[in-house]
Symmetry: C2
Subunit: 377 residues, 2 copies
């Protein structure tokens, strides 16, 4: 009855998957290619040289991953031996911003205007065009890799293009027009092996320096129509990719309510951590139910919940736990500037109460930015 789940990557997402999977009768083997695993649960094979793949395959029934910066060839190779969810095709699309945007367009999912560039001259032209001759900034990103704000440059004029090209270029970049948006939101969906999909209520996300700080859900001012629009977009992606597992779609919401797709992640996502304490079934459990071919659980929100990331410094656990409605999730990592060490899920019966709790929690976390939400005027 025990299902052995192989996980590519061995960080906090893997750890939280394992914690959610134990009660389903699952056990976990992690393949870490970074040399610095932190999952610290189940079995971890550290495999910087690529010599442990056979040992890994011998110990698992099916395979998933906790981060998308994996060689697609590795995942294709694994697929020849064990079921992999999500598939290598989904991975290939999600790890290349060019393919991702092309898929969005193909499925009629609106995005900010963008250009793919391979040379400095093309970058300069894209900055001029998308920036409307200096009227607005643009963002250039490496097409592959790069996350949490790494591998990105914000350009306010054509003159800044050369320095950006030196720093992150010399390879394909995607250049995107900055759009006027009210807020960043995300939708998390899960599709089972039977093709049925479930959707969580959308969250509003706040980043500082490219790192997520706060996610709040459900949203008091998000219309049912907008939630359904997001569900349609992500459903189209799930169907096209014959996706199994959790898929996250990050979007910008504009003043008129419309959504523009930013990017997607083929995995459990930081903006879905609130579901651990704020939804009937967490994103971690639902991902594993999908991977194991089990029926998916309800995604209904239980209350008003805000996820607060713990970055760089851990803060005082006793002080944090004294706050009402606080659920602490530490990853067991050493403190280091900019590092995700854990998160809090704050849960409250009403929104004003929640906002008070978030403010109180942020004051207990060294270096945490003041929480600002778009719906608080």
């Amino acid at each position: 009855m025990m299902t052995r789940i192989g996980v590519l990557g061995a960080g906090q997402l893997g750890q939280m998957l394992a914690l959610a999977g134990y009660p389903l009768g699952q056990r976990f083997v992690f393949l870490d290619t970074s040399g610095s695993p932190s999952a610290d649960i189940g079995t971890t094979l550290v495999d910087v040289q690529g010599e442990q793949l056979d040992a890994f395959l011998a110990q698992v029934d099916s395979v998933t991953y906790e981060f998308e910066h994996l060689p697609v060839e590795l995942v294709k190779k694994i697929e020849q031996h064990k079921p992999v969810f999500p598939s290598s095709r989904a991975l290939a699309v999600c790890q290349n911003r060019g393919l991702e945007k092309a898929l969005f367009s193909q499925l009629n999912i609106p995005t900010p205007e963008y250009r793919l560039v391979n040379t400095l001259a093309d970058l300069q032209q894209a900055v001029a065009e998308l920036g409307q001759q200096g009227q607005r900034a643009v963002v250039a990103k490496t097409v592959t890799e790069g996350y949490d704000g790494k591998g990105q440059a914000v350009l306010r004029s054509v003159e800044e293009a050369e320095a950006a090209w030196q720093r992150i270029g010399n390879r394909e970049l995607i250049v995107e027009a900055f759009v006027d948006f009210v807020r960043e939101v995300s939708i998390i969906a899960v599709r089972g092996q039977d093709g049925r999909a479930v959707f969580y209520p959308m969250a509003e996300n706040h980043h500082v320096d490219g790192i997520l700080r706060y996610s709040l859900a459900p949203l008091p001012d998000l219309s049912e129509a907008v939630q359904q629009q997001a569900e349609q977009y992500i459903q189209a992606l799930l169907n096209e990719l014959e996706y199994v597992g959790v898929l996250t779609l990050e979007l910008f919401q504009q003043a008129d309510g419309r959504l523009l797709a930013n990017e997607m992640a083929p995995r459990v996502h930081n903006s879905g951590h609130w579901t651990q304490n704020g939804a009937v079934t967490s994103q971690f459990e639902n991902h594993l139910r999908a991977v194991a071919g089990l029926p998916l659980g309800a995604t209904t929100a239980l209350a008003h919940t805000c996820m607060v990331n713990i970055i760089g410094k851990q803060g005082d656990a006793a002080q944090l736990l004294q706050l009402e409605g606080t659920h602490l999730h530490l990853y067991g990592k050493q403190e280091r500037e900019g590092r995700k060490l854990g998160h809090l899920n704050l849960v409250a019966a009403d929104l004003p109460g929640l906002l008070q709790q978030v403010t109180a929690a942020s004051q207990c976390l060294p270096g945490a930015p003041a929480p600002v939400f778009s719906f608080v005027k």
Copy 2:
């Protein structure tokens, strides 16, 4: 920041403690003296011969236990090196039904009438007196050890005493009068290192052949006065024992509402598993918060919850997870008659809905008795 918790015993309670402790930044080392550990998380030292104690002590910051049938001398020895919660004194009382009953009496906690007996003649006399000359049955139990209905005998007449003495006697027994009770209930309390205590709403428990099958909480027909009475009783025990951690008190409720203490357990308890999905903070997390000297979390019930034990046969996980509001908790054990393999927590917004779910779940579990609750007429 990482706290290393040592756990004496390595069964499912230890496993669920570890799953609740990871997010608090805790890691776990189990000392298993049975030779058949099943926790399967963290580090397990199998130590049937008693040779691993030093290795265990070297790896832990503080120690707790998941079952009470431990040599008190072992725990006293550990206390000389590391903090142990609950203390060896609490353990000594809880593992001896004679000391336990004496403590109940000392603290004015009412119990069924009882006698301690050391000989067959005393047993016969106790059966005659407590059984009111054959008017009612009595139960004889070994003073130490015995759980899940083992080491017990129900006697309906003095004539049955000799066979019972042969089977479970030849050592001290406690003989208790059967009382007319409406139901079995339990209260779970947690006391922190600062002396503050929190209490969960009481649960109604249904046993079959001495094995717990259903626990339901909160109770629709339990008055606030009865809840407070139970809290007073358990608070007296916590104070007297200077207790730290989860303490469980099982009680009989009589037709007039009054409570009689049956027994207590110095640990997280099967009748508190509903708190994993039905309360703000689970009994497991609160036990570990207490052990680590952290503030305790709220014990408020989130909804109507029923815990259904999975005994002997595992049932079909996919079928169970298809039921609304179902949370599955498998322990990763092989099927065996009478063995606790896992449990379900069923959660519903209203009681009629919950009772329907419980009936549906019981029909998916091979050999599960039909659920019967005292408040359903």
